[in-house]
Amino acid sequence: MASAIPFVEKTDPLESTRTLSILVENRFGVLSRIAGLFSARGYNIESLTVARTADSTLSRITMVVRCEPLLAQQILRQVEKLPNAVEAADLTDTNCVERELVLVRVHAKEGRRTSLLTEAEIFRARVVTATPENYVFEVTGDSGKIEAFLDVVRPYGIDEMVRTGQVALRRNLHSRFAPETVVEEDPVEASR
C-alpha cells in the first residue's frame, strides 16, 4: 500500500487501475483477509479506504488496484466467498462518482503567497491553516483533479502531503444484497 505513489498514466490497456467497492461485516480481521487476497497474488494496492456505512454493522472498503479487469473480477469473486463479505463490485467504468481528499502543506514564502492562493482558487482548494512559512490546502475531487492541483503547487515546494485514497459511490442503488435480509436485531458483534 502506498497512497503517496503518484498517479500513473494508464499505459497498458490490459492493465488498468480498477476501483473496487466491497461491503463487509464491520468486524476485526476482515480487512487483512481481503488485502491478503491481493498480496497473495503479488498485487499492490494503490489506495485503500475503510469506514462504517449508514448501517454501523457494515463497513465499505474502497480499493484502487492496478490489474487486468478479468483478474479484478476473479479476485472479487474470491472476496465474495469470504463469510464476512457482503458484496463486492468493480465500479470502474460504471455510473458512479469518485472522490479523493488531499491535505498538502506547500511552501508559501512572502511574495509568492498571492499567486499561490490564486492558483489554488482554480481548484477550489481551501486553506485549512497557514503559518508565515506555508499553507496547508485541502482539495477534494477525482484523482485527475488532485493530480492537476499537485502539478500546479509542486513548483512552490511541497513540504508534506497525505491523500485519503479514492472513494466511489454508485449514482443509483444497485445492490444484489437484498435489504430485507438485514435482521432487525444487531448481530452479535455489532456493538464493536
Binding site: L23, E25, S32, E80, N84, V86, F177, V183, P187, V188
Partner: protein
Amino acid sequence: MADANTQTDRQPHPLAGRRMTGAEMIVQVLAEEGTDTVFGYTGGAILPVFDAIFRYNAEREARRDKQMQLIIPANEQGAGFMAAGYARSSGKVGVFVVTSGPAATNSVTPIRDCMADSIPVVLICGQVARAAIGTDAFQEAPVFNLMSACAKHVFLVERPEELESVVRTAFEIARSGRPGPVVIDVPKDVQNWEGVFKGGGTVRFRGYETRMKRLASAKLSDAECAELLGMLRKSERPLVCAGGGVILGGGAPQLRRFAEAFGIPVVTTLMGIGAVDTTSDLSLQMLGMHGMAYANYAVTDCDFLLVAGARFDDRVAGKVQEFAPNARYIAHIDIDAAEIGKVKQVSWAHVGDAGDAFAELAARKEGFDKDFSPWLEHVRKLREKHARGYDRSSRAIQPQQVLECLNEVVKGAAAGKGDAIVATGVGQHQMWAAQYLDFKAPRLFLTSGSMGTMGFGLPAAIGAQAAFPDRLVIDVDGDGSMRMNIGELETATTYGLPVKVLLLNNHADGMVRQWQKLFFDNRFSGSDKTLRRKDFVKAAQADGFGFAERLEDQGRLREALERFIAFEGAAFLEVVIDPDAEVYPMVFPGASYKEMSTGDFIKGRSAEDYAQGPRRTDAF
C-alpha cells in the same frame, strides 16, 4: 445461520439456561452437532476443553450413554488429517482440538490441505489469555493471521458471550456451500469464563447467508436445461468430467442416473474417483497428468465436455488452451461461482449443486433420442487398445502388480463388510492406487489431491477407521510419505483401530526420482533413500502391530496380502518394490494431452504422441 439440520430449529435445548464454563459450552455444541469423535492434542491453553470432555464422558459413562471418543495423535498434524479422513469418508464435519502456539502452527498444514480439497473440518485452538495476546507470551502464535490465509473462515473469540454461537456457526460455515475448514481460536480465559448457555443462536453473516440461500434455490431452469440439451443434441461425442465436488455434494447417484440415461461416458479427476463406479461400462476412470491413456484420449476426442464439481486444475488440464481441443462445447457446473471461467472459458455454466443439476437434466431425457452408441463403441475400443500396463515380466515386484493383487484380495475379503476405504500418501504410490484399485462408491478413496501433502495417508486412514470401526480401511503408502507421520502408527494400535498399512517401499521419493530421470539427467538429489537405515517392520512391531512383515519375494505376494487383509487387528505389510517402476501415462507439466507419454508398457496412439519428448519447463 438458519439450516434445517441445526439444533436451533428444533425443540429448546435441554441445557438452555444452565450456567457453565466456556469449555463446557464448546463440548455441548460439539455434542449437539453430532460429533462422536474428537481428534486432538492437549496442552496449556486448551486444558479446560480437554477437562470438559473428560467430565462430559465421565458423566455419560455413569449413565452408560455414548461417549465422545477422544483420539490423541503423535503430532497435531496427525489430528488434522485424522479429522480430514473422518470427514472425507463419512461426509460429516471432522473436529480437532489443539492447544496454542506450536500446536496451532502444526495444524496449518491440514487446514490448508482441507481448504484445497474443500473438506469440512472445525479446528478449535487454545489461545493465550486475552490480556496476554500480542505480548509474545509462552506458546503464543498469531493464529488468526496464519489461518486467515488458509482456512475458509477464522474466528477469534474475544467476547465469551459469543463463544457458543461461534462454535455452532463454525460447523455451519464448514459444511455449507463449497465446504472447507473453519478455525476457532479460543483464549484460555474465555474457556474458563462462566455464563448462561443459550442452547441456540448463531453469528449472522448477511452476505454469506444470502449467497447460501441463492445457491439453495439455484435450480436449473427449463431454458438452461434446453440450452444444454441443445448443445448435447448437436454433439456426437459427449463426455462428463466429474470432480470432487460431485462427491462432496452427495451428487454421485444423480450423476450416475444422468450418465446412464443419456449413455454418456464419464472421466473423473483424482478427487472425483468413486463418483461413478470405476468398474462400470461408462467409467473411463481418471484423467489428467497420470490419468488413464484412454481417459485422456477420450477428452481429446470428445466434442462436448460437461465438467461438474471440478476446476480445470493444472494436473487435470495441462496446457489449458489445448485441453479438450475438439470440444465445440464445454459446460461447467460448480457450487463456487469463482470457479466459473477462472481457468477455462466455457460455453455454458451453472452455479449450484451438481447433483440437483444432473437430476434436472436426467428428468428431461424423454424426447431426447440422440444415440451416442458409435461414440461409446469408440470409447470401448480406446479402453481396450490403450489399457493400463506395466512390466509384467520383471522379477522385481512391480507396485502395479501389488495393487492389482490387493484389489482381488480385497474383493473377497470385503464381501459383506461394505467396500474397503483406501487412504494414500502422496507420490507414485498415490497415482498407482488411483489407477489400479476399484472404487465402486464415493468416499472410498481418501487422498490429498490439491495440496499433495506427504504423510496424509496414515492419519487419514486412522480417522476413517474411527468413523467406521467395522469397515476395512487400508493405507496405501510410500516410504517417503510414511516417514512424515510415522509416529501415528502407535496411534492406530493405542486405540485398537485395525487399519491395514501397505507400504510400497522403493527406497526413494519415487515421483521426484521419476522427474529427475526425465528432467535432471538422473541426478537423484535428495530423493535417494537407499542409505537410510529405517527398518519399517521393526518400527511397526515396536508400535504394537501384531502383524508386521516385509515381502521381497514375488511368489509370496498373494498369500502375504491375503493374511495381511484377513488379520484381525492393525496390520503392517512392507513390500519392497522395483525402484525403477514409473507412473505412466504422463502428461508432462505444462504440456497438452497431445504430448502424453504412455511409457513402455501402455500402447500410445502413435509415435507422434510423444515425438517431442519431455521439455523442461517452469511448469511444476
